[in-house]
Amino acid sequence: MSRTDLAAQTSASARDLLGVSRLTNAALTRWLHALPGVDQVGCEARAGALSTRSVKADSKRAAIDLAISMIDLTTLEGADTHNRVRGLAAKALRPDPTDPSTPRTAAVCVYGDMVATAKEALQGSDVKVAAVATAFPSGRASLAVKLVDTQDAVAAGADEIDMVIDRGAFLSGRYLDVFHQVARVKEAAGPARLKVIMETGELATYDNVRRASWLCLLAGADFIKTSTGKISPAATLPVTLVMLEAVRDWRDLTGTMAGVKPAGGIRTSKDAIRYLVAVQETAGADWLDNHWFRFGASSLLGDLLLQRQRLRDGVYSSVTYIADDSPSTAY
């Protein structure tokens, strides 16, 4: 299938799903606005209730290892250097040098110009290289630039592309523009899996998060992702809950699974485990795998390792025992 065929194919599936002969902004609007609303109070109460689950001892050990294996270890700074990226890659490959049984992280997430460096450092491992693209973090560039940005990262060896949607277009109701951009970037990403960042902190309402989630899924997203990490609030549990409901219902509707990636603001093991509980009780245990759920984070890894060491040794360690070549300030 040629590249142009893929975007056309996505449009055709979308028409089919919506039951329309032509995919127009009006048709998309009707479809998205017909989704059930999200009651803010109820949604936040549910997230709060999920946070009360108690995960201890062996279950906690397993959950921590699972969380480590789901991390997209990230550095997205103007001051990034090749050495810093190599340091991050080394950390991803061997998060805890005192304990080789520690799982590797899922991926290393960098800007496009660092992909080759990351790829080389991770060569031969199963740790993926993810590149942010499409004029990250604002997304304010022409589609042509976004496509080239994407192709460039893929050509450099990126296994995954983390794109941003045009929030301006979304908020002004130009859903079709967002759809086309996602579909075209997906096409440009070729074999790379596409994560679509919705920047939920800018979408402001849970209704918008739900609509944006469905829009991205319809446009071919392999993953829906909360945030760039550059905007506050970044990931929250209620927002992630709404996204988990979206991928669950999307699978009910289409039979296709899509991943979810909360990014930014998740710093502690306790937080991470709450997210995993939400995954299990909302989308289901099928999603408890780094193919379907990721954490975009960097400082989270340090706390997971501390907790892991504590469960192993029975005493609390300290950050001075967490080897880190590139302590990040990104998240």
Binding site: D39, G42, S54, A62, A63, L66, I273, Q280, L288, D289
Partner: protein
């Protein structure tokens, strides 16, 4: 496939120190039991927790006399500010000993520790804080009495409370009664007397004047003796409609006033434009919270026919994540049924539901071998003429009915002798307000269910009783004047 196991996370029982047996709490002292006693058990294990005295008519009489003495000699002479100080002190002590109360409530009642810890005990303390604030502001709570006088208390209140929220129901009676200047004789339910007896210790710790609060334990006969006692000025009862009717009959023609908070068959009405994920949570919380032992439980789900299948599918999927078991485990969502008697009632009505042709469904989850348990159960294909649509089951059993139009929803929701609570789920504000107006229920929740707050009046219409608890309305029911 990876699954996160929730390892057992039991709350420690170490905080709770139980006596082998308890007497009555009369005149500020525990009075050694003279008559018969009965055992109170942990419904999750059937373990005997303690022996509790059964107050005879003489025991009740002693308690009422102690309350009368305390009223005339001490409590009615205190300023509102001073009464408020005692109530604040009790509220703080409840907070300080919250964990102990929560564990004891869970042991005696069977409810999950997360609910006693996060709902029952904090709300009980909140009721004392709220009413403590009113104690010196009664003139602002209700219209002034004759000649602009400060509203006067009634005197001695007899409180009779159920087993579903033992300490919370105690707080609903004791806090407003004391704030308004009354003294009280309280009878907790026979299956859940322990937190009331621990509360008696809190009264001692707070140095509440002796006789202001008296606790008489016992069953129906003890309650009847309290109702029949001529020295009681008001009966505040929460419990079944059947007993409420007996009380109303007993009090007819006497000078004793009453507030009755009775049973319910709450309709939880879900429209096709509802926020669906949250509505599912509201349906689950509405009926399975506290094992369905909730007078205002949303035990009838009225769902618009166009989304009935979708709601049923989502509801069943959600029920699969409910964890039934050890109430002391922090990961338990649904605990034990409070007593064998209640379990038999629930099982009996569920059997009737099947026999009448409704479709019974549950998750088939494993249940502990000891104790009293009932799986969260959903009946679909229920119609108004089924007994499970009419009778209060007071257990984790949901009856699902459908409607086609808003008018039909109103008609079905109101087609019951009860009128305590209802829920409405719709994103359309105008419909929500219109419907709330049409429903014959004391409490109507919009896009939520089972929310309680001391500032909000609670109570029923029709056979769900009369009088309000909470808020200014609740306070007025403990003062002479408009409340009576």
């Amino acid at each position: 496939m990876t699954v996160i196991e929730y390892a057992p996370a039991p709350e420690s029982r170490a905080l709770v120190r139980l006596e082998a047996s308890y007497g009555l709490f009369v005149g500020g002292e525990f009075v050694a039991a003279s008559g018969p006693s009965f055992a109170t058990i942990n419904p999750a294990t059937e373990e005997v927790l303690a022996q509790v005295s059964e107050a005879s008519a003489a025991g009740v009489d002693a308690a009422v006399k102690a309350a009368r003495t305390a009223y005339t000699r001490v409590w009615s002479k205190l300023s509102g500010t001073d009464r408020g100080k005692y109530l604040f002190r009790i509220a703080r002590l409840l907070q300080e000993r919250a964990r102990e109360f929560a564990v004891l409530e869970t042991l005696d009642n069977g409810k999950p520790i997360t609910q006693s810890r996060d709902v029952d005990i904090p709300l009980a303390a909140a009721h004392f804080f709220y009413h403590a604030g009113w104690a010196d502001k009664l003139a602002y709570a209700v219209p002034p009495g004759p000649g602009g006088s400060t509203p006067a208390p009634l005197g001695v209140v007899g409180g009779i409370i159920p087993w579903n929220f033992p300490l919370l129901m105690l707080a609903w009676k004791v806090a407003p009664a004391l704030a308004a200047g009354n003294t009280i004789v309280l009878k907790p339910a026979e299956t859940t007397p322990l937190t009331a007896l621990l509360f008696a210790q809190v009264c001692q710790e707070a140095e509440l004047p002796p006789g202001v609060v008296n606790i008489v334990t016992g069953a129906g006969a003890t309650g009847a003796a309290l109702v029949a006692h001529p020295g009681v000025d008001k009966i505040a009862f929460t419990g079944s409609t059947a007993v409420g009717k007996q009380i109303a009959r007993a009090l007819a023609g006497t000078r004793t006033s009453a507030t009755l908070e009775l049973g319910g068959k709450g309709a939880n009405i879900v429209f096709d434009d509802a926020p669906l994920d949250e509505a599912i949570e509201g349906i689950v919380g509405g009926i399975f919270f506290n094992q369905g032992h909730v007078c205002c439980a949303g035990s009838r789900l009225l769902v618009q026919e166009s989304i009935a299948d979708e709601v049923e599918r989502r509801l069943k999927r959600r029920l699969a994540t409910l964890r039934v078991g050890d109430p002391l485990d922090k990961n338990t969502d649904v605990g034990a049924i409070n007593s064998r008697t209640q379990l038999d009632t629930i099982a009996g009505l569920a059997h009737v539901g099947e026999a009448e042709g409704a479709h019974r469904w549950d998750t088939g989850c494993a249940l502990p071998e000891q104790g009293f348990w009932f799986r969260p159960t959903v009946f679909t294909g229920v119609t108004q003429t089924h007994r499970i649509a009419q009778e209060e089951i007071f257990g984790p059993v949901l009856s699902v009915l459908t409607f086609r139009t808003p008018a039909e929803a109103v008609a079905k929701a109101n087609n019951t002798p009860y009128g305590l609570a209802a829920g409405i789920w719709t994103e359309k504000g105008s419909r929500l307000l219109w419907l709330a107006d049409q429903l014959k229920a004391g409490v109507v929740w919009g896009n939520t269910y089972n929310q309680f707050d001391p500032t909000s009046p609670f109570g029923g219409v029709k056979e769900s009783g009369y009088g309000r608890e909470g808020g200014r309305h609740g306070l007025a029911a403990y003062l002479q004047g408009e409340g009576h």
